[in-house]
């Protein structure tokens, strides 16, 4: 069987997977099929500990993959560095938000992973929430005991929290995302301003946008031959069922995407504290924030596009004995990532002194990327303008 179209509504044949899945359980069923049919050696998925916590697990056990079905919006972890660390020489399959997929592609350009061995099952992404802000949100705005929340869902611009009351009864409450975000809650700052919503750079792009209301199906866009191959195989081996997506659904999805991108652009403008400042005020802002750096190295360790490891340029020029207003580490890191930063917010998330790193980085990289006409992480054939890929001597893969 050959896939005739680019867009499908698809679902897991196994009713249990379909029920547990975020939408149609397609992603889980496809990963299970890829494992069973020897497309991949392992899958990298999130094991749910609570609505506020998912732990990344790399597994070759299909049962574990099944257990990990469902979306966790309170898990803002980027999977790129796991792939580099543990799967450089393995064939793996994993769900990827756009920022996961973009990070992996940038790593592949730097020869840290081989894309032929990686099956990226993309997830559309409206954004993630910080889990602790989500707990506060549950208590303050939903009037719930955070620990009683057993499920969450984001649809139609609302965040639904489903709690389990005494006696096992479930209760659903919702609030509009907009309203929560006006109050300083809701999605992470990086997500609010993230404009890549559908991961077409992955092998498949899956989501609920475009799925008729009330139907337990996943909207799937086939983005690469590899993606088509595992999709077909999942159907042929009976894990997945699919139908062509109706034109109305395709249109609806496009429209929502455009709306989300517009919203992201307006958030970006609203959150940009830097551009409107005068040059000296701006310098003061940088110094005031970056002086707090304690040189923990976390921002470097989590960055999905940084592949330096022991060859770190930012560390080479840094000396803790210097007394500059902004350390060489910070300056060089900003400059070195100017062409490739994907503004995923990981660095800011882990910064122990809460420096708005993504905001600062954006100020430099966005203009640079616009000027060079380079959008990182979208296309493996496009080399980063700084051409570092050709300079590398510590490639992990051929």
């Amino acid at each position: 069987m050959k896939l005739k179209s680019k867009y499908y509504l698809a679902w897991a044949k196994d009713e249990k997977i379909r029920k547990k899945g975020a939408n149609g359980g397609f992603v889980t069923a496809t990963l299970v099929s890829a494992l069973e049919n020897d497309f991949i050696d392992a899958a990298l998925v999130f094991e749910k500990k609570s609505v506020y916590e998912g732990i990344p697990v790399l597994t070759s056990d299909p049962e574990v993959v099944k257990k990990c079905a469902g979306s966790l919006h309170g898990v803002p972890i980027n999977l790129t560095r796991f792939v580099v660390e543990y799967a450089a020489k393995k064939r793996i399959g994993l769900p990827t938000k756009p920022c996961d997929a973009r990070g992996i592609i940038e790593q592949a350009k730097r020869r840290q992973v081989n894309l032929d061995n990686i099956f990226m099952i993309g997830l559309n992404c409206g954004g993630t929430l910080h889990p602790l802000r989500m707990r506060e949100m549950a208590a303050v705005f939903y009037g719930l005991d955070p620990d009683s929340v057993v499920r969450e869902e984001i649809k139609e611009g609302k965040i639904f929290l489903i709690s389990e009351e005494e006696g096992g009864e479930e209760k659903e409450k919702w609030m509009k995302i907009d309203e929560l975000e006006q109050k300083g809650y809701g999605r992470r700052d990086a997500c609010k301003s993230c404009t890549v919503k559908i991961p077409t750079m992955a092998d498949l792009a899956c989501g609920n946008w475009g799925v008729p209301q009330g139907e337990e199906k996943t909207f799937v866009e086939v983005c690469s031959e590899k993606g088509g191959a595992i999709f077909e195989n999942a159907m042929e081996s009976g894990y997945v069922e699919a139908e062509e997506a109706p034109g109305k659904g395709i249109e609806a999805r496009k429209k929502i995407e455009a709306g989300m991108q517009k919203l992201a652009a307006s958030w970006k403008e609203r959150m940009d504290e830097v551009s409107t400042l005068s040059r000296s005020e701006r310098f003061e802002f940088y110094v005031d924030e970056l002086k707090n750096c304690i040189h923990c190295g976390a921002c470097k360790a989590v960055c999905p596009v940084c592949a330096c490891e022991d060859d770190s340029k930012c560390l080479d020029m840094n000396d803790e004995r210097d007394s500059y207003a902004i350390s060489m580490y910070n300056v060089l890191r900003i400059f070195h990532l100017m062409d490739s930063c994907i503004h995923c917010g990981q660095c800011e998330d882990v910064c122990p002194v809460d420096i708005p790193l993504t905001l600062i980085q954006r100020r430099f990289s966005e203009r640079m990327q616009r000027h060079l006409g380079y959008v990182p992480g979208m296309d493996i054939t496009e080399k980063p303008p700084l051409y570092e890929t050709e300079l590398r001597w510590s490639a992990r893969v051929e």
Partner: protein, 517 residues
Amino acid sequence: MEMETKSSICPGCSIGCGLYLLQAEEGEERKIKILHRPTSPMNEGKLCKFGTDLHMYYEREVLNNSVEGGEVKQEEAIREAKERLKGFKPDELAFIALPSTITNEEILSFVSLASEFGCENVSFGFERFFREIPEEASYIIERGLPFSEVEKATKIILFFLDPFVHYPLLARRILKAKKNGARVIEVSFAKNERKIADEVVLVEPMEIERIKEKKEMFADSLIIGELTPYTDSQFLALMLWLTASTSSRLFLFKPFLNSTGAILFGKGSGRGDLSEIIEGIERGEIKALYSLETDIAGAMLGGEEVAETISKLDLLIEQNAFRTPLSDVANITICSEPFFMKKGTIVNIEGRLLDIGGESEKGLQAMESMGKGRTYEEVHEEVKRKLGLAEISEFEIAVKREEKSFEMAEPKAEIEEIKGEEGYFLRYKTNPFFWNGIQSKNFVEISPAAMRKLGLFRGDEVEVVQGERKERMGFKISELPDYLILSEAKMSIKPLYVAEPHRMEMLTRVELRRAKR
């Protein structure tokens, strides 16, 4: 290759930041990677350098079971330890554990093991303070405060504490308090290089007590200070007096992860103090020492002398996961598991009872097999019973504190004149690496005046001199008073109160020279 991800706790300091520890095995190789855990309420997914680099801490050489240098099976090391301990009189024995990697359950087990041998010299590093202060004030030493209290405070006094260095994950809470409108006042020998304070009150080393004249400034504040085995008694008395006489609250940070657990569960009559134990060994009164996951030579300043003192023992038993200078000279070594593998709990500085996340009971069982022979569950139940808890949740403050008013006599005595070389004062700034026996810096901070005076240039080195001791170091120019030298590096130079270790301070007089090029 399968990858296992565990929730774990950083043992670097008493904040107890949560993290994920990833282990992957590929052939012979076991890789550990540290990942941020955003769900953790202590640190919200952030770590300092110690936590970020924690895999290195765990990649040290593991300790074997041994008797007199010969490798043996664990049972044999345990049997031998028990037999030999029996050969000493109770007052010839001492048990010490600086509680960095020690669980509440192990603390109970350790205390009960010591009592099996009738030993009353048990130290977790903080005992003497309880004797030196009024009983009603002891809650301040015993219990910390949740970070939400720091964020809510309207006035914060940083009392000789640089949060960015000493307790890095405290710094953002103070920054948050500032954003919420708090006024931050810093009382210190030198201005914080990150200018965190709205107001800085600089104090001269010989005139610490003069801060009493500024008592009004402390009114209704949250004073944040530090309590370590080095803290001077008068200094603690001063902090308590300022607290008591200005209706303030005092939040004392402590360096070792499970300091709160050790204080709560190690409490009891007749505990010895660390410095007294070291003195006892020096005098030959204490002849046998059981050290639990504590490299006193590595953790303390003046490690060489401590090591020399230790060598006077007839019996040294070291139970640890990793090799240390102390385990190298121990008569018996008992191998326990690395911290992340442990089954057990700790109490962080905020009072949260935290599950470490491991499954191993090896260290605990080593002690129980010499002592009462209880199961892990029995000991764990005792922990919960003592805390009055049915369940463990990292989101709850299990060890709460209630502010009480107490009387505190005004500390009168002048801080004794600090003897030593003329010229400069050296102050150690401790960070998590310092307390965990890891050298993280190779330079000292000096004033621009000192640089000019010594004619130093970029790339030069300095010598910090104290009598016979000399340390060659790099230097950094900081905005310091002319006479001050700050060091995060651990050097052989130490405070001069060696003869009276309990009078030790982190300040000492030294000479500063330009090192020969």
